[in-house]
Amino acid sequence: MASLKELRARIGSVKSTRKITSAMKMVAAAKLRRAQASAEAARPYAQAMQRMIGELAVSVAGEVTLPPLLAGTGQDRVHLLVPLTSDRGLCGGFNANIHKLTKRMISRLQSEGKVVRLLPVGRRAFDFFMRHHADLIVDKLIGFSGKEIPFSIASSLGEKINTLFESREIDVCTLVFNRFHNAMMQKPLCQQLVPVVIETGKGTVPADNVAAYDFEPDETTLLSSLLPRNLQVQIYAALLETAAGENGARMTAMDNATRNAGRSIDRLTQVYNRTRQANITKELIEIISGAQAV
């Protein structure tokens, strides 16, 4: 059995760990509130954009020359996967879930004979895929999470993807990120960015209303400037969800860690007290039996 001194040191160290984890929890909670607010503030733009693209897509449907961002390259060979993670760890299974899902997708696509490319966002994803699939990485984007996310990050990433697409280096682009439900739950999912998937049948636009729309300058021009913008907006939304999810996951993980540390301290304190009592009893027995022997 450990000595009293060792137990004391052990209890002290667990106590300071608990202090750290509970501080991290508080920080994550404060950041979460901010991240969640900015994620919610960005939602109207994305929704309005989705609606406009939906309306436009209906009115240009059937035309021969659709912009490639909408119609695709006509091929389905090279897939670009963009896993979005945080830059730092200590947030439970948040990043591991993304890695797992991405790895599954890579092996599925490769078994179908597709070419896979990776563009990891966030240091965690980059480090992970450097170890496992270094040959697939075409680019990376790291070192921005934790701060307020400016739109310019999303727009430069969107432009990068657009350039890859226009130079026919990729045919399909898919984001892999955590959808933020609440602080306890983030769901990893993949969302196809390119070619754009139009959500139809939502009932937002009645069919007879569509025909009444005028377009200035014209549908194709509008669509060709809307689509790259939409790409950036989708990426921005995913980045914000990731930021909110990271802080939510970290808050939950640190809450659990704090609780575990508390439990561990209780257990250690009990062992410590028992050991102390056993020592006293032992000494007493020694003294008494010594006195009896005289």
């Binding site: 900015s38 503030a41 733009y45 309005a48 209303n209 009444a212 729309y213 005028d214 200035e216 950036q232």
Partner: protein
Amino acid sequence: MPVQIEIISPEKVLVSCQVDMAVLPGIDGDLAAMPEHAPIMLLLRGGVVTLYKDDTIIDTYFVGGGFADITQNRCVVLADRATPVQNIDIDRATAELEALSQLWEKADKSDVARLNILQNEILSVQAEIDAGSSS
């Protein structure tokens, strides 16, 4: 019957209120969104959105390009970036114009798509400076 106008930037909703008329900087010229306007989707250039109530200007916003979706009683402006005109930072805009002009000098003159984007950005920043200095 007033028009419900919303000016939305990627980060947040800037304005959501009822006005009698909103003048938008369309790519082919200004366009006023009034009640009962025919539904139209519009590409915007960099310029100023002016909000009117009873023929008086109640507010002006600078938008750096974007899109507008106008229906009979609603006008949604999706701005690439947007600021109230009185908050325009002319020094920053001038510096940006300077940087863009240098990019223009260095740009490959055969790359038409790139030149087009640059030109639009320059026009947008120029419009921002004009709007800021006239207010």
